[in-house]
């Protein structure tokens, strides 16, 4: 039962955070130098009736609070406004690109979880060995490698050197997509994988020294079972939290990787829109990416409570 109230508390927190985020994203419009219409239109000379239409869309003739509530209501009902550059609904423009980003992030998340945990576990089980040293060395460099540096390295090696993967495009169909998005996902996942591997290594090696593992071994429980039930299960507690944060961070990281690989996703569209001063699109994408980030974080929090029931006790007293 405690888990339910914990989850409820988290969901309330999620709603509050999202509300604050939307105020920041919306209010930013009024922080910028110049009047909001100029920011929204990027200072372009526009016919009067377009300006009136924009003023009506954004309710610029009403007080801030009402404008914000109006705007939020429209956003919640799926009306994200119109792009100033393309004169099209932002939601249509975004929907066409969201798939690539979602695929990329999911692919990278999978890579991080699988390779991060496996590498970390191997490293912990062979602590002090050559394998351990190699994993430690690679992960130290991996953590410090920005995704766009990994991207140019992979394009040079796998696309131009070995011709294994295409350099650009997101592909169509599942298999083609997998093939096209492999290099971008690896580039996006690299630092996170290294980080999760390091985390798993320290968490697992700490568990390996605990008495309950010795007890399990002395009772003759087969080693694979000891690792799975006693080492990995307990080590999962820190891995879920930090790993979850890392995976959530991929959503922001996709902006950089999509640009490096010229993928037509939300992130590259965000940067293009900033360059074109297409502010309604910038607002919408920023809001969506932040919302996705916060939602993933909340899911991780709740998962964490499922893995480690003790959390809910602390959570309740907060």
């Amino acid at each position: 039962m405690r888990i339910v109230s914990f989850a409820a508390g988290r969901l309330v927190g999620l709603a509050v955070t999202l509300l604050v985020m939307s105020v920041i994203v919306y209010g930013g419009l009024y922080l910028a130098p110049g009047n909001p219409v100029a920011v929204l239109t990027g200072g372009r000379p526009l016919p009067h009736r377009t300006i009136v239409a924009i003023e009506a869309q954004y309710g610029l003739n009403k007080p801030f609070f009402f404008r914000y509530v109006d705007w939020l209501g429209k956003i919640l009902s799926g009306n994200l406004g119109k792009s100033i550059v393309f004169r099209e609904n932002v939601s249509t423009l975004i929907a066409a690109r969201a798939g690539t980003t979602a695929f990329l992030v999911a692919y990278a998340a999978l890579l991080i979880i699988v390779f991060g945990v496996v590498l970390g576990l191997v490293s912990a089980l062979r602590k002090g060995s050559q394998t351990d040293a190699v994993i430690l060395g690679t992960t130290t460099i991996g953590i410090a490698t920005p995704s766009f540096v990994a991207a140019i390295l992979m394009i040079s090696i796998f696309t131009l050197g070995l011709h294994w993967f295409p350099a650009i495009g997101a592909g169509t169909g599942i298999v083609d997509r997998l093939w096209h998005l492999t290099l971008p996902s690896v580039a996006l996942a690299m630092a996170g994988t290294a980080y999760v591997a390091r985390l798993t290594r320290s968490a697992a090696s700490e568990e390996l020294q605990r008495e309950h593992v010795d007890t399990a071994r002395s009772r003759g429980i087969p080693e694979p079972l000891v690792i799975r039930r006693h080492v990995l299960r307990n080590a999962l507690i820190p891995i879920t939290t930090v790993g979850g944060l890392t995976v959530a961070g991929l959503i922001a990281g996709s902006v950089v990787v999509e640009n490096a690989f010229a993928l037509n996703g939300l992130g590259s569209y965000l940067v293009t829109s900033v360059e074109q001063k297409d502010f309604p699109v910038v607002q919408a994408i920023a809001l969506i990416l932040v919302a996705a980030f916060v939602v993933v974080n909340t899911i991780v929090d709740i998962l964490y409570a499922l893995v480690d029931p003790r959390v809910t006790i602390v959570g309740a007293s907060r």
Partner: protein, 288 residues
């Protein structure tokens, strides 16, 4: 009477830590020192003008005149790397300095007052944690225009919670220690206790966190410049160099992107390793 804790804190803060850096930590500290010197004296060291075009010698290989060769417009790569170290290092330095300046007072006040103030600050930090730094930076750039200043302010706001959270947790522990209690009983003010005793005692922790943050900030800032939203070409900056070298990769000349990328990786490595060693000299796996 009051000098006693200060002496104790000085010992904790000083020599003991530097001796326990280990080989990797010392190597990282040396690397950072060398990079700082290069950035400081960049115009004196750089063999060429970083922006001088030489269209007759584009994509030149390594030679005595150009030890790392030239880029697509014949600019000397070594000179551009050396000059580029300035914005590449100064940017993260400003971000970390700003976020320490914002985060420490917030964390200390919150830890000291507890109660509703602390709850409000914790909530604020939670919300800020929920805003990925690079997105905040892009949003600010969309409003105020591309360039380093917007990026620096945005990243400072986004990284402040990391510094504040670590400091707040430590300050809450420190506050309960007897020396702080003793100082309070003697009637010393909040500012004096925190400024003279609490913050100096947390100094090594703050420095460790700031060092780790420096690495992450550098990655974010370079990414923003890579996206074309930070430092603007033709200025030499490592992030910019990775981006402007990208088209040449497809022509078979990855040098510019590669060298700039390597410089970023080396620098970030040095800062994260040093930060980890400073934070926890006993438990870092890469003990030298």
């Amino acid at each position: 009477m009051t000098s006693l804790p200060t002496v104790a804190s000085l010992r904790r803060f000083g020599s003991v830590r530097t001796q326990r850096l280990g080989a990797m930590g010392k190597a990282s500290a040396t690397t950072i020192g060398v990079l700082a010197l290069i950035a400081l004296f960049a115009p004196l060291i750089a063999p060429h003008d970083p922006n001088a075009l030489d269209l007759l010698h584009t994509f030149a290989g390594p030679s005595l005149a150009h030890p790392l060769g030239t880029d697509d417009t014949g600019r000397d790569l070594l000179s551009r790397l050396i000059i580029g170290s300035r914005t590449s290092l100064l940017g993260p330095l400003l971000v970390v300095w700003l976020s320490v300046l914002l985060g420490i007072p917030l964390a200390i006040t919150s830890a000291w007052m507890r109660g509703p103030v602390d709850a409000a600050v914790s909530r604020l930090l939670d919300v800020l944690f929920a805003f990925p730094g690079i997105l905040l930076a892009i949003l600010l750039i969309a409003l105020f225009g591309a360039g380093l200043p917007s990026a620096i302010v945005a990243l400072a706001i986004a990284h402040m919670p990391y510094i504040a959270r670590v400091t707040r947790a430590a300050a809450i522990r420190e506050r309960e220690l007897t020396y702080v209690q003793a100082l309070r009983v003697q009637g010393f003010s909040f500012y004096r206790i925190c400024g003279r005793h609490l913050i100096p005692n947390l100094g090594s922790l703050i420095i460790a966190q700031a060092t780790v943050s420096f690495g992450y900030v550098m990655v974010d800032l370079a990414a923003i410049s890579f996206l074309g939203l930070g430092v603007q070409p033709p200025s030499a900056d490592w992030g910019v160099m990775v981006a402007s070298g990208e088209p040449s990769i497809l022509e078979g000349h990855p040098q510019q992107s590669l060298y700039a990328g390597i410089m970023i990786v080396i620098t970030v490595c040095a800062f994260t390793i040093l930060g980890e060693r400073l934070a926890d000299p006993d438990r870092t796996p890469l003990a030298g």
